[in-house]
């Protein structure tokens, strides 16, 4: 891999972070709009080792916690878990193709929301049910679709194999 390719990869991640803070609010319901920050983390975990992925998840989660103080710490926990499991799972179990990556984005989003909801203890009963059965799957779906588009468009930059399932 050339050095310029490495910079391009981080450029894609920076682009996703910028989208989170600029475009996301224009994409309809906040609860269902794709989470570009989590997507950047998951794309990073595809290429990196589990330890680095966990550390990146912790940093991303802590940043998010500073913006949603109602669940401080829960975001760091959730993103650390998702980052580590994603990188570990990709290395041990998963094949490299577009559909598997889409499933990773969907599952990562859903698990992240599950851990935040449970760890924060703020959502219970009906609220938790709606969050996990309606809003989180919707957000996972939009995040997965966005992730597939990003991987396809920037496939040469992110160096992830995107052959069809």
């Amino acid at each position: 891999m050339r050095r310029s390719d490495k910079y391009r990869f981080y450029l894609v991640l920076a682009f996703l972070v910028a989208l989170e803070f600029t475009v996301r609010s224009r994409l309809g319901d906040e609860r269902a709009a794709p989470d570009f920050l989590l997507l950047a983390l998951l794309i990073y975990t595809i290429r990196t080792q589990p330890g680095k992925a966990a550390a990146a998840g912790f940093v991303v989660g802590l940043m998010r916690d500073a913006l949603t103080p109602a669940s401080f710490g829960a975001g760091a926990l959730a993103h650390t878990l998702v980052g580590y499991l994603s990188a570990w799972g990709k290395a041990v179990f998963f094949a490299e193709n577009l559909f598997v990556n889409a499933c990773l984005f969907f599952g990562g989003t859903w698990v992240r929301n599950l851990v935040i909801a449970l760890a924060s203890g703020k959502l219970r009963g009906g609220q938790l049910g709606w969050e996990l059965l309606v809003w989180s799957p919707l957000q996972g779906l939009t995040t997965a679709v966005t992730g597939v588009v990003v991987l396809w468009v920037f496939r040469r930059w992110v160096h992830v194999r995107v052959r069809e399932a």
Binding site: R31, R64, L67, S71, F72, A76, L77, L123, G126, Q139
Partner: protein
């Protein structure tokens, strides 16, 4: 760099993972007095450029609407200028009679809501106004439809708003005509009443009809009197012979709000009944004895 099938978690990876988990759990267990300064410092340093980016994006999004509004205001001002001497004299008379002074023209800070992609976002919002704009802790936060919540933490250019959906939220409330008083709190998280409020502590002998508009009462000195909270939609429960609790449909949902007004804490003693649109909550009578 293609992914290798032989890559797996080394001991170092596991240690880093466990360290991050430990730090996360430590962050969760931090008391608010330590947690808030940490979060505030992050918002004002690492996250400041991102929040500024989000704020600019929100401004850009609404620039077209603002342009139309400013054009309409300019046209109205041009029309009003034709009658300026008469308007000025009449305005001076009315202000003198009503003693309103400049109170109606100021006393709030406008702010954009910077929504985040977390399930708990509706419980505590980040808004784009802070200490530099004159925001103070415990200031009431409203939208044109009604009460959103109150400011809990103030940074230099942003603030955290605890919304009515937060389980710790309470507000002293009354019916539109002041005949019924009680405490409004989140209804809880069970069943179909999610994202509803409840009016607690209403004496058993007083019935509050469905459709009754509920406002802040001003008691307690946190929220000014007369901010719409919602509309009564039914009875949630009752303590036999003592009191009833009523379900209240909120005037506005936190996740649906993009812009808010943060009232100056000095206004908490005022009555804002006339400042809100008449259609923000359906009109309804107050309660009455059985």
């Amino acid at each position: 760099m293609a992914l290798g099938a032989d890559r797996y978690a080394s001991r170092a990876d596991t240690l880093v993972f466990l360290g991050c988990l430990g730090l996360s759990l430590a962050a969760m267990s931090l008391p608010p007095v330590w947690r808030d300064p940490v979060a505030s410092a992050m918002r004002q340093t690492i996250l400041a450029p991102f929040l500024e980016l989000q704020r600019e994006s929100e401004l850009l999004r609404t620039s077209r609407t603002r342009f139309d509004a400013i054009t309409a205001q300019r046209d109205s001002a041009a029309l009003a200028a034709t009658f300026l001497p008469e308007l000025r004299a009449e305005n001076q008379r009315l202000r003198g009679l009503l003693g309103l002074g400049q109170r109606l023209g100021s006393g709030y800070v406008p702010a954009e809501v910077l929504h985040q992609a977390a399930p708990t976002d509706p419980l505590a919002l980040v808004v784009s106004a802070g200490r530099q704009q004159g925001v103070r802790p415990l200031a009431a936060v409203v939208s044109p439809e009604g009460l959103i919540g109150l400011v809990s933490t103030v940074d230099a250019r942003t603030s955290i708003v605890v919304t009515w959906a937060n389980l710790e939220f309470r507000a002293s409330a009354m019916a539109a005509d002041g005949s019924v008083y009680g405490i409004v709190a989140p209804h809880g998280t069970e069943g179909p009443g999610v994202w509803l409020l409840e009016l607690q502590g209403v004496p058993y002998r007083q019935m509050v009809p469905e459709g009754t508009a509920i406002f802040t009462s001003g008691l307690g000195g946190v929220f000014p009197r007369g901010i719409p909270l919602g509309t009564v939609v039914g009875v949630a429960g009752e303590t036999e012979g003592w009191e009833r609790t009523y379900l209240v449909r909120p005037a506005v949902h936190p996740s649906a709000v993009t812009h808010v007004m943060i009232l100056n804490t000095g206004r908490s003693a005022g009555d804002l009944h006339g400042a809100f649109r008449a259609d923000s909550v359906p009109a309804g009578g107050g309660g009455g004895p059985l």
